[in-house]
């Protein structure tokens, strides 16, 4: 009772595979021809249908086998794994000696059971769902971190926080002066957009000189703080997360913990303080640059005199607008620093995790800015400021 079954690739393929029952419960696979990786070799799954329940033993014949390489080995390894899973004994004696040795080596160290992986491909919907759940699951941790920062500020006020002034100044320098160029460019363009937008609308009622009011209030009250906040989220928030994340990878944060030095005091506090110091200044500067752009557009394109623009601006700018802008700036700064440090401290122990921390810091930062911006706008409106 011999049933033979053969598989070959396309016409020119040099490999050939044949299976036959040599005993009622044993099957032999006969390999002939060239089994190399540069060919279109079959997958071991091609044999799965024939490896039926009643089989107990699998043997090989390779007298007519030509050249072979890891393509052949991979085929056999996968086949062997499948057979072991089904309780079929694989007899390697019919294989060339080298093939047998390499296969034995590959299976010498059993696959280790390692920690759960949350990887793998998932559908978009599942991913969105998982992320959303993860965000809400993360809320207690976010609050906990907020609590730790609050305690740290308490220690700062009572003079017991362990951090170095030089770190604070280093951060201040990194955040402030080095951000001036990008803040200038972006806020100049925003001022320009506001001026054009205003000019178009105000022309209809013949009140073009109010461009100055629009630009001044718009920049000082809202856009200066908002744009600076977003720039700083991308620049400094991401940097904070990457710095602290790298320290996490290098076990530096662990080294602080084991010494009983609070990483929050030593690393997070100076960063938050630096941002809260610099953000109002950057916001002021941003407003100024925006108004400058407005003035440039109004005088050159819409023929409003510099003097007229200047007096309009001075009239429009009440103190309260400054206070609103500055307070928003500080709050956004705190939000950015908080998200940057949070994601950095939460970072895992790999290079990949550092990248994720940086991205996540920017996303969280912008999200928190948007939420607080809306809240503050409503609050200020209610208060009539």
């Amino acid at each position: 009772m011999k049933t033979a079954h053969s598989i070959t690739g396309n016409q020119e393929a040099a490999w050939h595979l044949e299976t036959r029952r040599i005993e009622p419960d044993a099957m032999q696979v006969v390999f002939t021809g060239r089994w190399c990786i540069d060919q279109d070799l079959p997958s071991s799954a091609a044999l799965h249908a024939e490896l039926t329940e009643d089989l107990r033993r699998l043997t090989f014949r390779t007298d007519a086998l030509g050249a072979w390489d890891s393509g052949f080995l991979a085929f056999l390894a996968a086949l062997r794994k499948f057979c072991v899973g089904r309780g079929i004994v694989v007899d390697q004696s019919g294989l060339p000696a080298g093939v047998g040795h390499l296969l034995t080596m590959a299976f010498a160290v059993p696959a280790q059971k390692v920690s759960d992986r949350t990887g793998g491909r998932q559908t978009l919907l599942v991913q969105v769902g998982t992320e959303t759940i993860a965000f809400f699951r993360g809320l207690p941790e976010m609050l906990h971190f907020l609590g730790e920062i609050t305690l740290s500020f308490g220690r700062l006020l009572t003079g017991r926080a362990q951090f170095r002034m030089s770190d604070l100044w280093l951060e201040v320098e990194e955040i402030g002066p080095r951000a001036l160029l990008i803040v200038s460019v972006i806020c100049f363009l925003v001022g320009l957009i506001l001026a054009y937008l205003g000019a178009d609308q105000l022309r209809m009622v013949g009140a073009q000189r109010f461009i100055a009011d629009l630009v001044a209030i718009g920049m000082v009250r809202e856009m200066g703080a908002l744009m600076t906040g977003i720039i700083i989220a991308g620049r400094t928030g991401a940097a904070f997360a990457a710095q602290l994340g790298t320290m996490q990878v290098n076990e530096e944060i662990d080294a602080f913990k084991t010494l009983g030095i609070s990483p929050i005091d030593f690393l997070v506090l100076p960063r938050i303080l630096a941002l809260m110091l610099m953000m109002p200044l950057l916001t002021l500067y941003a407003g100024f640059i925006g108004m400058l752009a407005g003035m440039l557009v109004s005088t050159t394109i819409f023929h409003i005199s510099v003097f007229e623009y200047y007096t309009e601006t001075i009239q429009a700018l009440e103190l309260k607008h400054f206070l609103v802008g500055l307070s928003k700036g500080s709050v956004y700064g705190a939000m950015v620093a908080y998200s940057g440090c949070l994601r950095g401290i939460q970072c895992g122990r790999s290079a990949e995790a550092v990248g994720e921390a940086a991205t996540s810091a920017v996303v969280t930062g912008i999200l928190l800015i948007t939420i607080t911006a809306s809240l503050l706008t409503i609050i200020y409106y209610q208060l009539g400021i």
Partner: protein, 249 residues
């Protein structure tokens, strides 16, 4: 070596989520022991070390320091116990924003009332002990991997701890430097009576300095031997011999 238990590990099980890294570990580490943690890559040596120094709560079991239950005493007591430990991390874990001198000085500044001059002298001495005299003003990025490890050791010694926990001191060091570190570890034990827990793979080092050991197995995920490593090599479990002789026995 006295026979006074300094650290006692009792039915310890550690893991990440559902994954058990090691289970049911039991060992006693005496005062003045040099206790070697051995085992293949990924068997959980670093994880055990993290449990010993308070960085990762074990899933079950107890760690006693001089009879105090490390993971279940109040926070401030745990902090006090931690202060008796000096830790060298696998990567050195130097603080990247500080110079070598500042790295070693920070624990002294935090936990002693020494005047700055004395601290400077102590720092220079500790750096010299690990062969890094003259590197005081270097930042960690300016050092090679082996130098970072040695600087990490100098920092671990900063407060003259009762117990030092050292993760793979000689991995990546040249043979002579590795030998010098072994001598230093022996000297710390002999002259200061420090109890030392060290993770290492170096056969020479294990036999040279180890007075006690535990062997963590990768397959059964638990310990398969404990005691003097020289005896483990002679008699002991065949798997330990196999490991220590690079598979030749």
């Amino acid at each position: 070596m006295t026979n006074e238990p300094h650290i006692k590990i009792d039915n310890l099980t550690m893991g990440y989520g559902d994954f058990v890294v090691q289970h049911d570990l039991n060992c006693v580490i005496n005062k003045g022991d040099i206790f070697v943690i051995m085992g293949g890559n990924g068997c959980g040596k670093t994880t055990l070390m993290r449990a010993l120094v308070g960085l990762q709560r074990p899933t079950a079991g107890t760690i006693f320091y001089s009879g105090e239950d490390f993971w279940n005493v109040p926070q401030e007591d745990q902090e006090r116990l931690k202060r008796r430990l000096g830790i060298m991390f696998q990567s050195g874990a130097l603080w990247s924003s500080l110079t070598l001198a500042e790295n070693v000085a920070l624990p002294l500044i935090e936990y002693s009332t020494l005047p700055p001059r004395r601290i400077d002298e102590l720092v220079s001495f500790k750096l010299a002990l690990v062969g890094l005299a003259g590197f005081e003003e270097f930042y960690p990025v300016e050092l090679s991997g082996g130098m970072k490890k040695r600087a990490g050791l100098a920092r671990a010694m900063a407060l003259d701890p009762e117990i030092m926990v050292i993760d793979e001191p000689s991995a990546g060091l040249d043979p002579l430097t590795a030998r010098r570190l072994d001598d230093l570890i022996l000297e710390l034990r002999d002259s200061l009576g420090t109890t030392i827990v060290v993770v290492t793979h170096e056969l020479a080092s294990i036999l040279n300095i180890g007075s006690n050991s535990v062997f963590l197995d990768n397959e059964t995920r638990t310990m398969i031997a404990t005691g003097n490593p020289r005896e483990a090599l002679k008699s002991g479990d065949p798997r330990v011999r196999h490991f220590l002789t690079r598979g030749e026995a």
